[in-house]
């Protein structure tokens, strides 16, 4: 940009003295050079002058400001701030503005919550539930002292204060705090200012309650303090004397496993006499396998009991031992006292008799009573004597058992055979099997079932003498194709459970269970699944059937379907004998591309299987390619889905915006309306 181009601007600025020194110099040197610009300069100067003249004429007079001021004062009254002015001044403060905005937002949120009804109610409910629960719990902790408080659960605040209260009382009882100032401190910090105030109020009543409560507590303490001397007396030196007076029955049971029963009995007898005891009873029993077991009851002096037990333990392996003491002191002395009373009664009755009353009736009654009392006396005496004997001697019950007591005496070998046969003619095989019956082959069960679909199956159970079993089983196997053959052998011990080297083994009759079913039901020996891809499914499926028939196979089922993508499927399941399997597989190649071949072979254990005739299942899927891209994938479908999703999202956000507007609109309208009215009022006033 040169000065020449901007000559107007330069000239104007020059006339208004707004050019810098450099610019001024540049302008002047240009004016010297350029005649056009000089001309414009002249004209502009005139223009400027005209304008200056014009505006000087039009300038407001000197009273202009005074007029304006007067007019202003006229229109704006000088009265001091009204309420409106105060409000306006208040609105000027930024803090007020922020507070107002916050209040409006808060109000909106609250209204929104009220409208949707989701937030506040559930929140408050939850809070309330928690409080209530807490109040109940604390009430139960304080043993219902506050549960009867009528103020409980009245309102939330009161409820809160109440549970704070109970909480506080709990603390008092637990920590033993006594002074009211401490009570206030015990209020949980979370209880808040309001609650602590409440607590202060209650604190005045608390000490009184505390006094009432403290008495039982003090009593408890006294009791606890008084308690300790009791065990001390028990532990004092007088204990031995007390023990001496006591009537104790001591019993012991010992279970031993020994090598020889007789030897053990001898030894026990010797030990018993050593310890000043005696054998009370012995019993023994011989088991089927020749082993002995028995029981010996020994009486020994109680003070020697422990030593005796120690000795017995050396006899064999200790399996079980119990040692019991029965304190009968109380009942013993009771009985003794009652006996004394009964004796006195007796002597009194005898005195009565001696008086010789005339009344026979009286005499009879006295006699009767005397008899009863004497019976009692005898009974009690007997009891005491029994106890004396029990106390005098300790009873040791020794159970003896020789080693290998459980060894078996003999074994029985039980054979159980299961045979599953497949045959085209079930009934024939069934009859043949029944024909095997002989004195050594016993048919225990035979049944032929025909279900409502016409399927026939049969079950035959037989018991075969051991020597015949192999021949019969072989004959049965030959009658059909063996699907499964299992033999279970069980050795049953007799006369004991444990192993024994010298026990005999005997073969029992063989139990044979045969199930006969038609071979359709037979599970395939080998299962093959494969897919054949071809363009003409229908035709190839027919051809496949022909091929199968050629190989002596049977079509079990077939289906044809077409899916939305235009793909065609024909599913064919075949069954061929194993020997023709390979030939069929090879011929399949002529139908199309064979894919996904999977072969599952079921090798059966424990049975001799006629592999050549075993059935092999083939499930073949013949299918066509169909459309490469299915209708629900690919570009268009993806686009469609995407658009649908985004449309959904937009709709959703529209809905949200609508909700937001529904929340905001009334408020905005109210606020704007309010401002408008306020302004109208103020305008009218001014």
């Amino acid at each position: 940009m040169t000065i020449h181009d901007e000559i107007d601007n330069y000239l104007a600025a020059d006339l208004h003295n707004e050019l810098s020194e450099d610019e001024q110099n540049a302008l002047h040197s240009h004016l010297v050079e350029c005649a056009d610009c000089r001309k414009i300069h002249q004209e502009t100067k005139i223009m400027n002058k005209v304008l200056e003249e014009k505006f000087t004429n039009e300038k407001p007079d000197s009273a202009f400001e005074q007029r304006l001021l007067a007019g202003f004062r006229n229109r704006i009254s000088n009265r001091p701030g009204t309420i409106a002015k105060f409000i306006v001044d208040l609105m000027r403060l930024r803090a007020t503005q922020i507070a107002a905005v916050a209040a409006v937002l808060l109000a909106l949120v609250q209204v929104g919550r009220l409208i949707t009804g989701e937030g506040p109610r559930s929140l408050r409910n939850r809070e309330y539930d928690v409080r209530e629960e807490f109040a109940q719990r604390s009430a139960s902790i304080s043993h219902g002292r506050n549960a009867s408080d009528p103020k409980a659960k009245k309102t939330e605040q009161e409820g809160g204060a109440n549970f704070a209260d109970t909480y506080r009382k709990d603390d008092i009882t637990r920590l033993g705090v006594r002074t009211p100032t401490d009570l206030i401190l015990k209020v949980p910090a979370s209880a808040g200012a309001g609650r602590s105030q409440y607590a202060t109020k209650n604190a005045a009543t608390a000490p009184a309650q505390e006094k009432g409560e403290s008495t039982p507590e003090n009593d408890d303490e006294k009791m606890v303090a008084a308690a300790p001397p009791e065990p001390q007396t028990e532990a004092s030196p007088a204990a031995a004397a007390v023990l001496g007076n006591r009537k104790l029955i001591r019993n012991a049971t010992v279970e031993l496993e020994i090598v020889s029963f007789d030897q053990a009995v001898q030894k026990i007898t010797a030990f018993a006499s050593e310890e000043k005891g005696y054998i009370a009873t012995t019993s023994s029993e011989k088991q089927e396998n020749g082993k002995l077991k028995g029981e010996i009851v020994v009486k020994v002096l109680p003070e020697n009991l422990d030593r005796f037990l120690q000795k017995i333990r050396g006899l064999g392996e200790l399996k079980n031992q119990t040692l019991g003491t029965d304190d009968i002191t109380k009942s013993y002395f009771d009985t003794e006292a009652r006996l004394k009373n009964a004796r006195m009664m007796e002597s009194r009755l005898i005195d009565m008799l001696k008086k010789k009353s005339d009344d026979i009736n009286d005499l009879l009654q006295v006699e009767k009573e005397l008899g009863r009392v004497r019976e009692q006396i005898e009974q009690m005496q007997g009891e005491l004597k029994f106890w004396d004997s029990q106390v005098q001697f300790a009873t040791v019950t020794i159970s003896l058992a020789e080693k290998d007591l459980e060894a078996a005496a003999k074994y029985l070998l039980k054979e159980r055979a299961q045979l599953a046969l497949y045959t085209p003619e079930v009934e024939k095989v069934y009859n043949d099997l029944k024909g095997l019956a002989s004195p050594k082959v016993q048919i225990t069960n035979a049944q032929l079932d025909r279900d409502n679909t016409g399927r026939v199956s049969a079950k035959v159970s037989m018991l075969i003498a051991p020597e015949e079993s192999e021949g019969v089983i072989a004959k049965a196997k030959a009658m059909g194709r063996v699907e499964n053959f299992q033999v279970q052998t069980e050795r049953v011990a007799q006369g004991g459970e444990e192993m024994s080297e010298n026990a005999t083994t005997k073969r029992d009759k063989v139990e044979l269970n045969i199930t006969i079913s038609r071979d359709e039901q037979e599970q395939a020996f080998q299962e093959t699944s494969l897919r054949i891809r071809t363009s003409s499914v229908d035709e190839k499926a027919k051809k496949l059937r022909d091929l199968a028939e050629k190989q002596n196979g049977r079509v079990r089922n077939s289906s044809f379907s077409r899916d939305p993508d235009g793909r065609e499927y024909a599913n064919v399941s075949l069954r061929v004998p194993m020997k023709n399997y390979n030939a069929l597989m090879q011929s399949l190649d002529s139908l199309g591309k064979v894919e996904n071949v999977s072969v599952q072979r079921q090798d059966r254990s424990g049975g001799q299987i006629d592999e050549a005739n075993a059935p092999a299942d083939l499930s073949i899927q013949v299918y066509s390619q169909g459309n490469i891209v299915s209708s629900d994938t690919g570009l268009i479908a993806t686009l469609r889905r995407t658009i649908a999703q985004s449309a959904g999202a937009i709709m959703w956000s529209l809905r949200m915006i609508g909700v937001a507007i529904a929340f905001l609109a009334p408020w905005i309208a109210a606020i704007v309306g309010g401002i408008w009215i306020l302004r109208r009022i103020r305008n009218r006033r001014s």
Binding site: A12, G71, R75
Partner: protein, 178 residues
């Protein structure tokens, strides 16, 4: 830009100090008049517009936060006010103005009339700038501030305005030129 004293006056006015505001009326009403006159080309109307502007400014003085912007804000109100008045009188003015002018058919009034029409043909902002400049002889920076123009743009505006008028008034001026 603005000295501390001036700023203090504006600040007080913003906060509702009436005396400060009256002070502002004394100092600022002439520039405001210049603007209003620039737009309206009529002294009485311009004066009324300034009066309205001041009243309105006083009523809504709390809307301004920055004392620096107070004068510019005043000018803005004045411009709006003047524009409103201009719009309202539009249908009447065409028949009215020639009459008053024709009542004094002197030599100066011909130029005056032409000047008048030349001014009227300028854009509003040009008129405002010219009247501010020629009434008050305010420097360019202040005018830019008052009219809310960017720095340095006034030179172009005035240059163009003068050039336009110069071209329009050329014949009349030539006759006046000795």
């Amino acid at each position: 830009m603005m000295d501390a004293n001036e700023r203090e006056v504006y600040r007080a006015a913003i906060h509702g100090d009436r005396e400060a505001f009256e002070m502002i009326i004394r100092t600022q009403s002439r520039p405001l008049f210049a603007i209003a006159y620039g737009i309206l080309q009529n002294r009485e109307e311009a004066e009324d517009a300034v009066q309205d502007t001041l009243v309105k400014a006083w009523k809504s003085h709390w809307r301004v936060r920055d004392p620096e912007k107070f004068p510019a804000w005043l000018c803005m109100i004045a411009r709006h006010r003047a524009r409103d008045v201009f719009r309202k009188r539009r249908p009447v003015s065409i028949s009215e103005i020639p009459e008053t002018v024709e009542s004094e058919p002197t030599d100066t009034t011909i130029i005056d009339r032409q000047l008048h029409s030349a001014l009227a043909s300028l854009p509003e902002i040009h008129r405002a700038a010219i009247s501010l400049r020629y009434f008050e002889e305010i420097d360019y920076a202040t005018i830019e501030n008052r009219l809310g123009l960017s720095n340095g743009s006034l030179r172009g505006i005035l240059g163009r305005a003068l050039a336009t008028m110069r071209k329009q008034l050329k014949p009349a001026l030539a006759s006046e030129q000795p």
